[in-house]
């Protein structure tokens, strides 16, 4: 009996170092963030005082935060919308049988493997009116074309969303493709025998069978969009003005550039709460799908 009791706590001793590291690197910072959100902490001014919920009230009066929230909603909605539409389309293409399919499935992941900062810096140049490859390509068809993508609000936002799609869409498509592999070919055969065309097969067979898979993928991908930071940081610095500033970018600027640690912590807590609610809702939706 004593042998059994001894063996019960041995695993806990083995994982204790990892648990302690995890507590220190994750739980402790999260706790401190919640705590700091109730303080006004401005490192450059030497201010560190308890202010209660004042930071949370100030958030709704801050034009920069409102601008960040606005673009975050736009960014998440449009990025996810096109992720789903184009992702399914790309997955269908990659699921077809043709020569070089395996090669295509490999190279299509190259953008996903590239660091976001590199993509952002390259995109800053790519969308430049004088030296960018985007305008260079357009000028081969319209020689007099001149447009500075990153100085206008709508086109700068479009550019940011486009680069986000370019980077992550292939990975999303590959994951949908993996779900398609579980659909038996015989179902398509039976449908073809019954007279169904390609579009009907897609709508009546493929789409229903991958819907749950797509819905499940949407949870992490939406959360990643909500916490996206590096593309904006390296590509537009939130500009023009604050029009392409995402909420994660705003938090980083407040915390590490402006050194308003308390206010940044407050924004981080609010983002955390939004993400938690969103995750909960999505899990409920996914469960309903599986029923």
């Amino acid at each position: 009996m004593s042998n059994i009791n001894r063996k019960k706590w041995i695993p806990w001793v083995m994982v204790l170092p990892v648990l302690l590291i995890r507590l220190f690197t994750t739980v402790y910072p999260i706790g401190m963030t919640f705590r700091n959100s109730l303080f006004s902490i401005k490192l450059l001014s030497g201010i560190n005082k308890f202010v209660g919920m004042r930071n949370y009230v100030d958030v709704f009066k801050d034009d920069k935060v409102i601008a960040s929230l606005t673009f975050t909603v736009i960014f998440v909605f449009f990025s996810m919308f096109f992720h789903i539409i184009l992702g399914i389309g790309l997955a269908l293409i990659l699921n077809m049988k043709f020569k070089g399919r395996r090669f295509l499935r490999t190279i299509v992941l190259i953008p996903w493997a590239m660091p976001s900062v590199v993509i952002g810096i390259a995109a800053r140049w790519a969308f430049n009116n004088d030296y960018g490859l985007i305008n260079d390509l357009i000028r081969r068809f319209v020689p007099t074309f001149n447009y500075s993508w990153l100085i206008h609000t709508s086109s700068a936002r479009f550019a940011v969303i486009a680069m986000d799609l370019w980077k992550d869409l292939p990975f999303f498509a590959i994951l949908i493709l993996s779900g398609m592999q579980f659909i038996s070919f015989e179902i398509y055969e039976a449908a073809r025998v019954d007279g169904a065309n390609g579009f009907q097969s897609f709508c009546r067979i493929t789409l229903p069978l991958i819907a749950k898979h797509v819905a499940t993928l949407c949870i992490p991908f939406t959360i990643w969009r909500m916490t996206s930071f590096d593309i904006v940081y390296s590509m537009t610095s939130g500009g023009p003005g604050e029009d392409t500033s995402l909420i994660a970018y705003r938090i980083s600027m407040e915390a590490f550039t402006n050194l308003n640690v308390g206010y940044a912590s407050c924004l981080a807590v609010m983002l955390f709460i939004v993400m938690a609610i969103f995750s909960f809702l999505n899990i409920r939706v996914s469960r309903r799908f599986s029923e």
Binding site: N129, S148, L150, I151, G239, M253, T257
Partner: protein, 409 residues
């Protein structure tokens, strides 16, 4: 057997970690956080400094992006991180940090009384001295935000030199055509602050007083330049990396820029017949000219555990040998006026112009506040809104004054 192998592996990894850290600590006398590591002559500079000081220096490369640079330095200093001893920082960072107590005073060890007078006094007093009277940074060079012109454009406009507002307007109108612009800049929201200030100065304004009519006149001038097509709106997205090629491929006829033209020289464009500095225009006609000076400076981390070595390094940077290395490797003019003639050869373009700036202009540091980057970004964003006609010039001046009050109270 598996357990034994596993235990040996873990022990080996742990041992190698600690061994590595100890070996690292013994190898170097100090760690220097530096922005120049990507310069082709950096290794030469480092070798010179190590030979001159007898120190082994570990160099940490600074990020090239301005926001990231600020964030990394702030994190190191505010957390009392001992891994970096000497940091190379700009005016924005010094303005933010000089009163925080994170920097070691150097007036008794490095920038001592016998040499202090040879540095630009206005810069030392306003930029690198704390409210307690401590000098916390050592300037590494003297830089001016000079006015540059392309001589070909001047010849085309039939103008010898841009002096008055009328000269400038005539010049802009004459040369801004066929994809060329009489003036170009870097109007990204964290960069345009330099030009806003320069134009405010040229019109006799005051950056900290936006009720001054000179400020409004300056902003109206910039707005009209953009509206008339004399300067492109594209530059709202441009930092210096995007702006410099436009200068060397002759898209711009004039601009403000730091440095002595290393990039233009590398492009084979630096000469009296091509790209060169000229005296700051006197757009308000009162005969006074103001020019911004800046420097990147060496600061000593108060948490440093290698202060002796760090002070030795910084003392070397006050000597002729140290400044000569900076001049020859990075094209930086020496900050000590008593050593200028020893280091910079006669006939050097920048020497004559720099002497003129020092004698004919009111030399001042850029207007900085403790929340420097926040202030700079907010002003830049406001300026961009004005240029895009989202707010009027009057509204911009009003909001700018609110920002000044907010960040200087």
């Amino acid at each position: 057997m598996k357990k034994l192998l596993g235990s040996m592996l873990v022990a080996g990894m742990a041992l190698s970690m600690f061994t590595g850290m100890t070996a690292y600590a013994d190898d170097y006398d100090l760690t220097f956080y530096c922005i120049d590591t990507t310069d082709p002559d950096f290794d030469t500079w480092l070798q010179t400094v190590e030979e001159g000081t007898g120190l082994k220096i570990n160099v940490v490369a600074a990020p090239t992006d301005s926001d990231t640079r600020q964030q990394k330095v702030t994190t190191i200093l505010s957390t009392g991180d001992t891994s970096v001893d000497v940091l190379f920082v700009n005016d924005e960072m010094i303005s933010s940090f000089k009163n925080t107590g994170w920097l070691e005073p150097i007036q008794d060890t490095v920038l001592t009384e016998d040499i202090r007078g040879e540095y630009a006094q206005g810069y030392i007093e306003h930029m690198v001295t704390s409210v307690d009277g401590d000098i916390v940074a050592l300037p590494s060079y003297t830089g001016y935000l000079a006015f540059w012109v392309n001589q070909k454009f001047l010849d085309e406009a039939g103008i010898e030199e841009i002096v008055t507002k009328e000269d400038f307007e005539k010049y802009l109108a004459a040369v801004s055509k066929d994809g060329k612009y009489g003036y170009g800049g870097s109007w990204e929201k964290t960069y345009v602050f330099n030009e806003i200030g320069s134009f405010v100065n040229m019109f006799g304004g005051d950056y900290f007083d936006w009720t001054n009519p000179g400020n409004k006149e300056a902003m109206q001038f910039l707005h009209d330049m953009a509206a008339n097509g004399y300067t492109p709106l594209d530059q709202l997205a441009d930092k210096y990396e995007q702006m410099t090629p436009k200068c060397t491929d002759e898209t711009y006829g004039s601009w403000f820029m730091w440095g002595i033209g290393g990039d233009y020289k590398a492009a084979g464009m630096l000469s009296p017949d091509q790209i060169h500095m000229q005296m700051i225009p006197d757009l308000d006609g009162d005969g006074n000219r103001t020019i911004y000076t800046d420097s990147w400076s060496y600061v000593l981390n108060k948490a440093s555990e290698n202060k002796e070595a760090a002070i030795k390094f910084m003392q070397f940077m006050t000597t002729e040998e140290g400044m000569k290395a900076n001049f020859e490797c990075f094209d930086r003019m020496p900050p000590r006026k008593d050593l200028l003639d020893n280091i910079v050869p006669d006939g050097h373009d920048a020497k004559e112009m720099y002497a003129r700036f020092a004698n004919e202009c009111y030399v001042t540091g850029r207007p900085m506040v403790p929340q420097a980057m926040e202030f700079i970004t907010d002003m830049g964003t406001l300026f961009q809104s004005m240029i895009k006609d989202e707010v009027t010039v009057d509204e911009m001046c009003e909001k700018a004054q609110e920002l000044v009050v907010k960040y200087t109270e």
